[in-house]
Assembly symmetry: C2
DNA sequence: ATTATGCTGTGATAATTATCATAAACCCCT
DNA sequence: AGGGGTTTATGATAATTATCACAGCATAAT
């Protein structure tokens, strides 16, 4: 490795980060460098826990890369999945400014890179830079709205429509491909749509028998998207 | 009416407003007076529409008094109720900073008083006063979190548990009494919990037959709260 | 007053979903 | 390579919820 590349690694590269536009667009270069100097980038492998419900919030974090799930465990130990998030759909921020404890757990469902800032530093910064705070608020608001709308959409559908919804979500929104590897188990789909694991499996099998999808374990190929969309809307 | 009381009416009274603490605690007296001078207080009768899904957002509004429902109409014209809000549980703010159009409708389900500020003025103000913006963000975040948590709680319950949940919500959280007038119809309960109107009615009748509640039209008396709580948790 | 409309209420039946049981396939661990 | 656990899978049956049908009642509109 050349000296140059070592130096590049040790200096901050935030100015080129695609996420800059999200809430750093009204932050000056100097300020950005200050933030950058204290940020830590952390990698999580698929399956690893990023934050845990109930834990104290010390950090402000945002996703740079990857895919995560937001979930909550009820008294019986059963999990409910609130949403999935990719970069630009925010994560940690939900309760960050209204609670001192995480109300949801965040878990990587694909290898994920997270940028970590000390929460107190961010808060102090936010108190001094209103434009930054407004951008942050817009992001939070948009992300939360997305979750609420998605939950409403799922709520008004039956089992088949919900499964179709989830498949289309990953196909259209996350992977932008008709063939993809499901990043979650059938049980997690169930936890997300509020139905039982057996019925998720059964419905997927049914879609397979009807030649709407092909299944190879976790690999899904959507063969008849038109039909799947119609099921998602009316089924 | 004496001259004094007329003057009191014509001058701003925001400094005594109980909502001041919400997001005006870091606003100076001078600034507050400026805001106060431009604010309009508006009354809505039970049933009146406050904002409509799809309409352009021109105003920043917050509830001073009353009770409202947040709802969304789907393609078939069927309504879904997202949440109910009283003062301190925010309302208009949800999409205000991330969209130029309302994503939900807000309707008074009890006589409601709303304070209205021009959105551009509030935005400009927010850009200059970071502490105000942070307080605002906390409020939005808290209110939205409440909605998400409530929706999750409902999602994991069956019909009876959901009805019990709604009754306890109004009894414990809104009216803080065991006897109250339901501010919404059976159909609206159904729209909120995602079940049919018939089943809502049937379940209420069942609760009545089991001496858990008494029903006089819209008036509900919770006779056995312990039992209702147990149904809400486990039923 | 009178129709119209919507809300409340109940029953019978159909559709949907959950539960329980069982088994093969897969992954992890040592 | 061989348990031990989890995931996927399928079937039978039970429980839950929706749909349809109908009726009384209240309220609003004309």
């Amino acid at each position: 490795m050349s000296l140059v590349s070592i130096m590049e690694k040790s200096t901050c590269s935030c100015e080129n980060c695609q996420l800059r536009s999200l809430f750093f667009s009204h932050v000056s270069m100097d300020e950005l460098n200050n933030i950058c100097d204290i940020k830590i980038e952390k990698q999580y492998s698929k399956g690893e826990s990023i934050t845990n419900e109930g834990e104290r919030i010390h950090e402000f974090l945002y996703m740079k890369e990857g895919l995560v799930k937001l979930s909550k465990t009820d008294i019986d130990g059963k999990d409910q999945i609130l949403s999935f998030s990719k970069p630009f759909d925010f994560v940690s921020l939900l309760s960050v400014f209204s609670s001192d404890k995480y109300k949801y757990s965040v878990t990587a469902i694909e290898d994920t890179t997270v940028c970590i800032l000390d929460l107190e530093v961010v808060k102090k910064f936010a108190q001094q830079n209103a434009m930054f705070t407004m951008d942050l608020m817009s992001s939070i608001s948009e992300a939360t709205d997305k979750i609420l709308l998605d939950n409403l959409a799922i709520k008004r559908k039956h089992l088949k429509g919900r499964i179709a919804h989830v498949l289309l979500y990953f196909s259209d929104y996350i992977y932008k491909k008709d063939e993809f590897e499901l990043p979650i188990s059938r049980r997690e789909i169930a936890e997300y749509i509020g139905m039982t694991t057996e019925n998720v499996i059964r419905t997927l099998s049914e879609f397979r028998k009807d030649n709407i999808i092909k299944i190879f374990g976790k690999d899904i190929l959507i063969a008849d998207k038109k039909r799947l969309r119609s099921i998602s809307e009316f089924g």
